[in-house]
Symmetry: C2
């Protein structure tokens, strides 16, 4: 808020005083925390090493080859934890452990939909995470299409009762993925709104930006209690088909979803550290998540994140002298269907001294911007990060960092300052939560640039005495 | 052959005589059949009308919306015939009829493959057309990878016996789709070669150029008699995965294919005509095929072809005066799994006077080149076609036209001259025989350009007395 008032004052000055004066004597640049020549040499070496290293690629290749998809709470996720523990040992981190927790398990075992009248065509769908099964043998009903959620909200029970609601809203492609927030609302809100109006099921156009015949999986876990409507996402071509069919006349769809649900499935967070040299109790937390949806390989979501933060930390581990603070790697379990790992971490670790936290969970696109969420007095440190990152083509961003799903609970519990190393996500939602999330979608060069940016952040965050929590 | 000797003579002349002479006095251009001013005006009007028309789009949109996938010999293909008859009536053609035939029916009802050791991962496959089922419950064996068919040919039974053969050969992307010929060999040859060496099944990297998680369907129907090895195509990402896994160590795969096979399924060719004004017995034959593989919608293969030739013929139908010759539309049945419709057509119609034949079965990419397969004396007519097509950006090609699958039997039986309106197929094999063959992959503008080229060919072929079969 203070920053905002200062900015206003500057604008007022520039417009009331002579414009020429303002040009000749611009306001002093904001302060930047100094980086010593020795630190700069270390940063240069770390960046060069990262840009040459294939370690991140090896890690994500191993994960998708040796484990593959790993649904939260599944046997496959348990294998991923075993894999992670042994990989982190091989990378010579310390204090490696699994912190177990339980969660309600959900997976779809049958996902079928077809137009049965007037044409007969099967459609490609993905049941939304948490969706109940359809009645034994499936259900069949006429479809009512809404261009967006607002239209559904305006609909009456008389229109909707007994029907399958179809929300045909499209997602906008954006570099920063910000089309997701608007588009994803239908994933959680379609079912409750449709149920209130007496619908029998809910279909949505997939939350994604690609034109391919894949349905995008995704949780609908923030549904209000008591919502029991089956819900699924349609591939874009099938959403097109259904829209055309509905436009031509009454269209009936058969939907058959079977699910495996149970309480108290096992999951866990995998944690590893580089213990701080002088201030081991001070923690720089870096996170990614181990679990994935099961239609793809979990390569970009979030094998890439696991690989990026681990490879960056390994470069720090290889320094002749460990940094002052502890670097903690959190490979969270069970992110996709409710962020259970992040919640468990916050429950167990809220009282520790988290100095700063960051997460890599947006694929492997190049990092184009650095953003902080620091207190005002700590902003000179954010500017120092930006300056160190500039040689990698990373722009200085603002102070509105969001962190990531797995660190949001610890942020809420402890107020830990956040940074975002923002990735180009122009094509992220082409692959996100689909069968097409496979290793070949990762660009090895962009992956290396990510590691270079992360190691820069990690080194500066862990080897300084800068306190990002400073309040004055 | 005569053309070849003439060309040699020209080269000899150019190099033995003075180079300057050759530049000042080039050899006379080859003769071009004249187009009258009135014909040219008609061509101009037809091209303009085609470039404005959405009829082709409407036809393919209707086909994929009202029928969808239509496997050879299936109920859905029968619906496609009904749809075609009523569509052709609506377009006011004459002599509309179905010419039935039977074929052996094949479709897969289960297509599952997974790595069971060392990792556990399911893979995306498509059983190859004609593949037998695996034994009840599936089969499981270690995989042996070959980079290409040649490597398999060089392998001994001792290496292969009891294993699943995996051919990992890639297809080259080419504008004219010519990478297909080389790549598709593995589709029919893997199973017999593998069976000879004692393998239990055959997996191939999909014949396709895309990087998406789709397996490409396709027939293996030219297998030698007695071949009974189950065979399937892997998606590119799964071929990558299997290759990585095999490189790391012994890899076992479970394969479960169930099929529905029966003799004497019904299919049929749908035929319609514009009867010739003065020479109705002379037939200009234009073909596309009605059936499709069943994982996609059959939009580019071959809904687009059906739409292009029908829309072009409709523009001819709308001329104030019917052309001299009969234009016959052949919407062939059962092309995909053995070209049964083309064979049936040749059987029934070999003795009719086919003047020229052409087929549209390569998607909806823009036409970039015209190619003939005429006798030498008829080449001036080919040059006239090229001249008339030039305003549409169509290059003059050579005299090596291939026709298309559905007209190859009538070509063989009758020697009918062929033309190819060659389409840009750079991305055709991204979608070909996959779930991704959907309406959105057709560019409406390229579709219109196709219609404009086809109507140019149709008008000139049907309203002249040019005899493309001329022998002197």
């Amino acid at each position: 808020m203070r920053g905002f008032i200062l900015a206003l004052a500057t604008i007022a000055f520039a417009s009331s005083a002579s414009a020429q004066n303002a040009i000749l004597a611009p306001p002093a640049p904001p302060p930047v925390a100094p980086i010593t020549a020795e630190q700069q040499r270390t940063i240069d070496r770390l960046q060069a090493a990262a840009l040459e290293s294939d370690l991140a690629w090896q890690i994500v290749e191993d994960l998708v080859t040796e484990v593959g998809p790993r649904m939260a709470g599944s046997e496959q996720e348990a294998r991923a934890r075993d894999w992670a523990v042994s990989m982190l040992r091989e990378q010579r981190f310390t204090n490696i452990r699994v912190e177990p927790f339980t969660l309600p398990y959900w997976d779809a075992t049958r996902e079928e939909a077809s137009i049965v009248s007037p044409s007969q065509q099967s459609m490609v769908i993905a049941a939304l995470g948490g969706s109940p099964a359809t009645p034994e043998g499936g259900l069949e009903a006429e479809v009512i299409r809404f261009a967006n959620l607002l239209e559904l909200e305006a609909a009456t029970p008389a229109q909707v009762r007994g029907r399958i609601v179809f929300i045909d809203e499209r997602m906008q492609r954006m570099q920063d993925g910000s089309g997701y927030g608007a588009a994803v609302a239908k994933r959680s809100r379609c079912a409750p709104l449709a149920q209130e109006r007496g619908a029998v099921a809910c279909l949505i156009r997939s939350v994604g930006t690609d034109p391919h015949r894949f349905a995008h999986q995704g949780g609908a876990s923030r549904q209000a209690a008591g919502v029991s409507l089956p819900a699924a996402a349609l591939s874009p071509a099938d959403a097109d088909l259904l829209a055309r069919s509905v436009t031509r006349g009454a269209t009936r769809v058969r939907l058959n979803i079977e699910v495996d649900m149970r309480e108290n499935a096992e999951s866990g967070n995998v944690i590893a550290e580089i213990r701080g040299r002088t201030n081991p109790e001070e923690i720089v937390l870096i996170a990614a998540h181990l679990d994935s949806w099961d239609s793809g390989q979990g390569a970009i979501d979030d094998g890439a994140g696991v690989a990026i933060i681990t490879a960056a930390a390994r470069l720090i581990r290889d320094l002749p002298r460990r940094p002052r603070r502890t670097i903690r790697i959190l490979l969270a379990g069970a992110e996709e269907n409710g962020v259970h790992g992040g919640a468990a971490y916050a429950r167990d670790h809220a009282n520790e001294a988290h100095i700063v936290a960051a997460e890599s969970d947006f694929g492997a696109g190049r990092i184009y911007s650095f953003r902080s969420r620091f207190s005002e007095p700590a902003l000179p440190y954010a500017r120092a990060f930006s300056r160190a990152l500039a040689p990698l083509g990373v722009l200085a961003g603002d102070n509105t960092a969001g962190g990531g799903a797995d660190i949001s609970a610890i942020r809420q519990a402890s107020g830990v300052p956040l940074v975002d190393l923002r990735q180009d996500g122009t094509d992220y939602f082409d692959y996100h939560h689909t069968p097409d999330d496979t290793l070949d979608k990762i660009d090895p060069e962009a992956l290396r640039q990510n590691v270079a940016a992360w190691v820069t952040f990690l080194y500066l965050a862990a080897d300084t005495d800068w306190d990002f929590r400073a309040t004055e």
